[in-house]
């Protein structure tokens, strides 16, 4: 089939315009029979498709758990007992369309850009396309998903030149876009999937008495916070840390379970595809900042909240493992990665605790450090350069 189709897409062929599209599909099906021609004669088996598919694999625990939790929170809010099978099915029905829309819109735009610019189709969006749904609430209208994916691909990536050239994490660009364009949809009461909504409004009908839809971070940021957390049914949570660690709390689809994120982290670190330096230093940064707030807390219940809660609440684990580690937008040097990760963790907690307008600070912290990463690297590389310059000066003064 390849032999028959290929000439039509090659130079002079009828569909030459669509060569990137053909090439994209052909190389998706087959690792191409391209051989080395310059330089090394053998190559490592790794390529970008492999790298990206490992990241997707690492995201599967979050995706599956996210589907389950979507249903779990829904049935809890409805005052029903969340059966595992029904919960997962409910989540599947809710989440799958978001994933499909994200991929369809994002890849569609990416293909169009590649055809216009005559670039080969790059693999970057395979990961972005699954990350975007996982950082959105389950009840998000699909048109918003489409709009966010389009914005992220065009403004977040393609205007910089495509995969590998972007400054900011593409999936976070999508989330930030929705966060600022439709704030009411992305905060407050959006985190539990309802039977019915009017826009962002909650239809109270059918909900359990005492229903509360805000996330743990939302509760902590509340002025009346006294140190105890409630679940969606309004009951006190007895063991907050373990619920948050396993992820049975309201939040974006994929971010709630720290455990699922840790499984993903293990996959990324063992394969060497995610940077352990960034993941570890992000957690350390958040924990240290949490401790600092504990020390100066006084009567402020949020500041006094145990520092390790920060690691499992909200999107910190998800951001540390999947977002901060995006190699294109992160720092590139070893030392730079440690500084970058620590900064993200610390800033995320500062934004959470200090700024009541943003109960969740991970997204903004990562975006901020995406921008700072080249500057961090600049200083690290500069110290290497300074060593060389110093050596040169010594040598030219005749010292060996």
């Amino acid at each position: 089939m390849e032999k028959k189709l290929e000439p039509k897409f090659k130079e002079g062929g009828k569909f030459h315009k669509f060569w990137p599209l053909y090439d994209g599909f052909a190389t998706f099906l087959f690792v191409p029979g391209h051989v080395t021609h310059n330089g090394v004669h053998v190559r490592d088996s790794i390529d970008l498709k492999r790298t990206m598919s490992v990241v997707i694999l690492a995201l599967v625990p979050c995706l599956l758990f996210g589907m389950y939790n979507t249903g779990y929170q829904h049935f809890l809010a409805m005052g029903q007992t969340p059966e595992p099978g029904a919960s997962f099915l409910y989540g599947l029905i809710k989440v799958l369309p978001i994933v499909v829309v994200s991929y369809a819109v994002g890849l569609g735009i990416e293909f169009a850009f590649c055809i216009i610019k005559k670039h080969p189709i790059s693999e970057g969006y395979l990961v972005s396309g699954i990350l975007i749904p996982l950082v959105l609430p389950a009840d998000i209208p699909l048109w918003m998903v489409a709009l966010a994916a389009a914005f992220a691909v065009v403004i977040g990536k393609e205007i910089f030149g495509g995969t590998g050239m972007n400054v900011l994490n593409v999936a976070l660009v999508a989330r930030a876009f929705l966060f600022f364009a439709y704030p009411t949809y992305m905060s407050g009461d959006m985190w539990v999937s309802m039977n019915d909504r009017k826009g962002y409004e909650v239809i109270k009908e059918g909900l359990v008495d005492g229903y509360t839809g805000s996330t743990l971070l939302g509760q902590a940021a509340d002025a009346n916070f006294n140190g105890t957390f409630k679940n969606v049914a309004g009951a006190d949570i007895s063991n907050v840390f373990s619920d948050a660690f396993f992820g049975l709390i309201p939040g974006s689809i994929g971010e709630t379970s720290a455990l699922a994120c840790l499984i993903g982290a293990a996959i990324l670190i063992i394969t060497g595809i995610g940077s352990w330096r960034i993941i570890l230093s992000t957690f350390v940064g958040a924990y240290v900042m949490g401790l600092i707030f504990n020390a100066v807390a006084g009567s402020n219940a949020y500041m006094a909240m145990p520092a390790h809660y920060h690691l499992v609440f909200g999107g910190l684990a998800f951001g540390a493992v999947y977002m901060a580690t995006d190699p294109v937008s992160a720092a590139q040097t070893k030392l730079g990665k440690l500084i970058y990760g620590f900064g993200i963790g610390a800033f995320a907690v500062i934004i959470r605790v200090v700024n009541p307008a943003y109960p969740e600070g991970v997204m903004l912290a990562i975006l901020f450090f995406n921008v700072m990463a080249p500057i961090i690297d600049y200083f690290v590389v500069q110290s290497n350069i300074n060593k060389r310059v110093k050596r040169f000066k010594l040598a030219s003064n005749g010292v060996k």
Binding site: E2, T27, L29, F30, V31, P32, G33, H34, V35, T36, H37, N38, G39, V40, H41, V42, R43, D44, S45, I46, D47, L48, K49, R50, T51, S53, V54, P120, S122, E123, G124, G161, G162, T163, G164, M165, I270, T271, G272, I273, S275, P327, V328, A330, Q332, T333, K334, K337, V381, N384, I385, K387, R388, V389, R391, F392, A395, S396, K400
Partner: protein
């Protein structure tokens, strides 16, 4: 006192096809080819015409820029062909070899009493100079410059590389003579490997500083050794010579003739009898590979190793600097969902392939690129196989941006393309790092000389 260097970063690519430690001498060679293109940045001026009769040691061409550097015929016989390429560029000179080699008479200064200048002149005039290469730029050394030091790596760590201990067996006198001669020009540094090097020829060499290094490839690259012994600063020049070429230099003074005999390892998964062969520079590869291949089609013949060698047709010839021939399968076959398979049999630095569970396994690698070229995406990858205190990606990007000042700051003078070969091998984005470095060096060279 020599230094003791430990490197951890690097990678030994475990290939099937190491040469057995047996030396054979192929039947008499009927023709050899000397190619000016083996010498990077050389502009040659031809001295012979088809029909000319030459002896071993007769100059065939010289460098236009440094006319004292002569390139001599390794055999005696008749020049049968002068191959020219586009714009009459001299590509190759073919010589039909005599059965019995006749050598050009050489007039040498006595090794003991000669001045530095006399030794340099003798090496230049008799075709030995091209064996001496310089850093920066990785080109033939400039004979008018006195280098800071000369570096010799006593072992080759690249994939399937010849064992230098074995290759130099019996050539201890010549090797030491070569060292003595070089030591009269500049201080000589010899680096041995803590576990690979066992031969007393290296360990007990005199007139040199002996350094030790441990660790995987590229520990045998002179560039890595120099970087850890005494890094090259802007304006400094060091020279490098391969151990087998030191022997050839030594022979000029022990035998009074240009005798470019060397021991070549015939390696690779597609070779039937993998052995060492004693041959002359420029020998046709057929002399080494005839009746010695599993099959003659769909193979890649490389003069050199799989990382830095040159692709040659089966009818091609051994490169001037090469002590190894490698034959591996071509990899034209597309692989269905190859990127998604578990990859038990796929060699990779990356542990997303389950082959990492079999650490000692040897692989038959073909020439498939395993993916298409992409922009830089993955970070920290090159650093795992680049044992120098240099930021490889930043250096590459400064080269791509043609920013000479930045290249200097980031250490371009310390590197040669071969130092980036492993980066190129492991690169997820399939970027051709060696040719980028070559381009950078050429650009700096053109702007600074």
């Amino acid at each position: 006192m020599g230094k003791s260097i430990k490197i951890k970063k690097g990678l030994d690519i475990r290939l099937v096809g190491e040469a057995e430690k047996v030396t054979v001498s192929p039947d008499s060679v009927d023709s050899v080819v000397i190619r000016p293109t083996d010498f990077h940045a050389l502009v040659p001026k031809c001295l012979v015409n088809p029909g000319d009769v030459v002896k071993a040691g007769t100059p065939l061409f010289f460098s236009k820029k440094h006319p004292e550097i002569q390139f001599c015929s390794p055999v005696s016989g008749e020049v049968t062909e002068v191959v020219r390429g586009a714009k009459r560029k001299l590509m190759a000179i073919r010589i039909l070899a005599d059965k019995e080699t006749r050598y050009q008479q050489v007039n040498l200064p006595s090794a003991e009493g000669a001045s530095r200048e006399e030794i340099v002149a003798a090496l230049c005039a008799n075709g030995l100079w091209p064996y001496i290469r310089q850093r920066p730029f990785d080109v033939i050394a400039n004979p008018n410059v006195t280098p800071k030091a000369i570096y010799i790596s006593a072992f080759d760590s690249s994939p399937l590389a010849p064992d230098m201990d074995f290759a130099l067996q019996g050539y201890g006198t010549e090797f030491q003579k070569g060292l003595d001669i070089l030591a009269r020009i500049a201080p000589v540094n010899l680096t041995v490997h803590t576990s690979r090097t066992k031969s007393e020829i290296f360990l007990k060499a005199k007139n040199v500083d002996i350094h030790t290094i441990s660790g995987p490839h590229p520990s045998g690259n002179a560039g890595v050794q120099i970087h850890h012994i005494s890094p090259i600063n802007k304006g400094e020049v060091v020279w490098t010579v391969n151990p087998q070429d030191v022997v050839i230099i030594g022979r000029l003074f022990t035998e009074n003739r240009y005798n470019a005999l060397r021991v070549v390892a015939v390696t690779g998964s597609e070779v039937t009898r993998r052995r060492y062969a004693k041959v002359i520079t420029g020998v046709p590869l057929r002399a080494l590979l005839n009746d010695n291949l599993n099959h003659e089609t769909n193979i890649r013949v490389i003069s050199g190793n799989v990382l830095t060698g040159t692709q040659e047709p089966l009818d091609g010839n051994l490169g001037f600097y090469d002590s190894q021939v490698t034959v591996i399968p071509e990899g034209y076959e597309p692989e269905l969902f190859g990127w998604a398979l578990p990859g038990f049999g796929k060699f990779s630095l990356n542990r997303s392939f389950f082959s990492w569970l079999a650490p000692g396994k040897k692989y038959t690698l073909d020439t498939n690129q395993h993916g298409e070229e992409r922009a830089f995406v993955v970070s920290g990858e090159y650093e795992k196989v680049f044992p120098m205190n240099i930021y490889p990606v930043y250096l590459l990007k400064s080269i791509l941006a043609n920013d000479i000042e930045r290249m200097e700051q980031l250490g371009i003078y310390e590197v040669a393309p071969e130092d980036f070969a492993l980066c190129e091998f492991v690169c997820t984005s399939k970027i051709e790092t060696q040719s980028i470095v070559r381009r950078g060096l050429d650009y700096v060279m053109s702007e600074t000389e």
